[in-house]
Symmetry: C2
Subunit: 262 residues, 2 copies
Amino acid sequence: MTSSPSALLGALDPTSDRAVFRQIADHLREAIDKGRFTEGAKLPSEAELVEHYGVSRMTVRNAISILQGEGLVHAEHGKGVYVRPRPPVRRLASDRFARRHREQGKSAFTVEAEAAGSRPEVDQLEVREERPSQDIAARLGGARKVLVRRRRYLLDGRPVEFASSYLPLDLARNTPIAQPNPGPGGIYARLEELGHRLERFEEEVRARMPAPAEVKTLRLAAGVPVIHLIRTAYDTEGRAVEVCDTVMAADAYVLAYQLPAI
Amino acid sequence: MTSSPSALLGALDPTSDRAVFRQIADHLREAIDKGRFTEGAKLPSEAELVEHYGVSRMTVRNAISILQGEGLVHAEHGKGVYVRPRPPVRRLASDRFARRHREQGKSAFTVEAEAAGSRPEVDQLEVREERPSQDIAARLGGARKVLVRRRRYLLDGRPVEFASSYLPLDLARNTPIAQPNPGPGGIYARLEELGHRLERFEEEVRARMPAPAEVKTLRLAAGVPVIHLIRTAYDTEGRAVEVCDTVMAADAYVLAYQLPAI
DNA sequence: AAGTGGTCTAGACCACGCT
DNA sequence: GCGTGGTCTAGACCACTTA
């Protein structure tokens, strides 16, 4: 017999206009916010909440589904509903593509992750030639065919990011860029060796809820949005030499940018 | 009598492991993706879906709630469930705080919105002195008291952004910055007049699901995350002179950054 | 008044995790 | 085996919109 949740949760207000399931969600949310349930803690079971509030099970489930939608809790089948721990966050600095970070044997992702004490992995690597979407083609100045490099990044076994790089085919074909492993410093180092000295990057940042395929690829919990980042690399001649389309688990990232005040 | 949804939606696969309500959600999502229901279109009513699939109403509602969580549709009580239109997006360029944009009589938000053909509004303006949170205090180099300026921005009547600016009190007290309307060019222009020439900004970008208060303030639809942006302004002496904490409706914004390749 | 979605009940059976 | 959450049914009454 576990102790009843009455000590942690209040009673319903029958005079309130607020729907019962919303009131229950409010109680649970408040208890979490106030630390009465800490990260990783198990909420009272559905049966206990049914008993405590004197409502039907669907009403309790409705309440819990609100909290799931907010990303506050997650359910584990056969076990219980738990307060979602905040995962470690990866900080992406705006100088992460600086030339000085490119001189090493490992990829930027690997170096950075190991420095942070995480175990980095890259999988689902795929390199192929494709006809680009209209959007990608436009960003690349009208390229008709492109080389695509797709890969998924993981930290400590958890997928955090899925990225696709697009390069004009005339630029990348039969170069190390078309190899699964392009060598030290990554494709930016190779681009510069091929005479495309990089001048600047443009990044577009959006946030939205994931599509079902993204939920699967990134193993996203309910209530976790994605950050969608589209980066275009320009060489000193002003030519767009790469577009990188990245979808990141939003709970795993902070993007940091430095802006000059001009 | 309207036409049955059978023309637009398939039949359930009884051999599939996939839950019935997920299959129904898949059908509807696919129909939306393929343009069989366009933006603003009304989905079949719950009753029609119950009839079409031969399931109970709760099963149909469960399916629809998945699509609501993905931000694909929204329900209007007494009317129906509609495909959510993509709202016009506001693009925030990384040079939006450049000095040259600061010489005008209107705020950056106003100028930009009017250029884009939208009707800008600012409301819920509040200026007060406060003791800062630990996080804000640390970002401001340990300020003990701050001047806070809060305001909400709207486009064509729709709230899109809620921002709080924090400035060290010793710097802002008894200056135009403490006035509700700080004058042409905004507080950055006033800071420079006060001798704090701005050198750079740092921005941190996160995305997450909104808290209930944010849903209310920004009138967010279900399935719309927020972009949380924290900007710190530094003067030429390296002092942090302002922190601006902004929560934006993610479906209304694209952030654009320029990064030098160094 | 008719049709729509919003809330809620009181059951049922199943799948999963643990002991 | 038992407790957990996952799915589903067949109702009920309510609130909102439109006509």
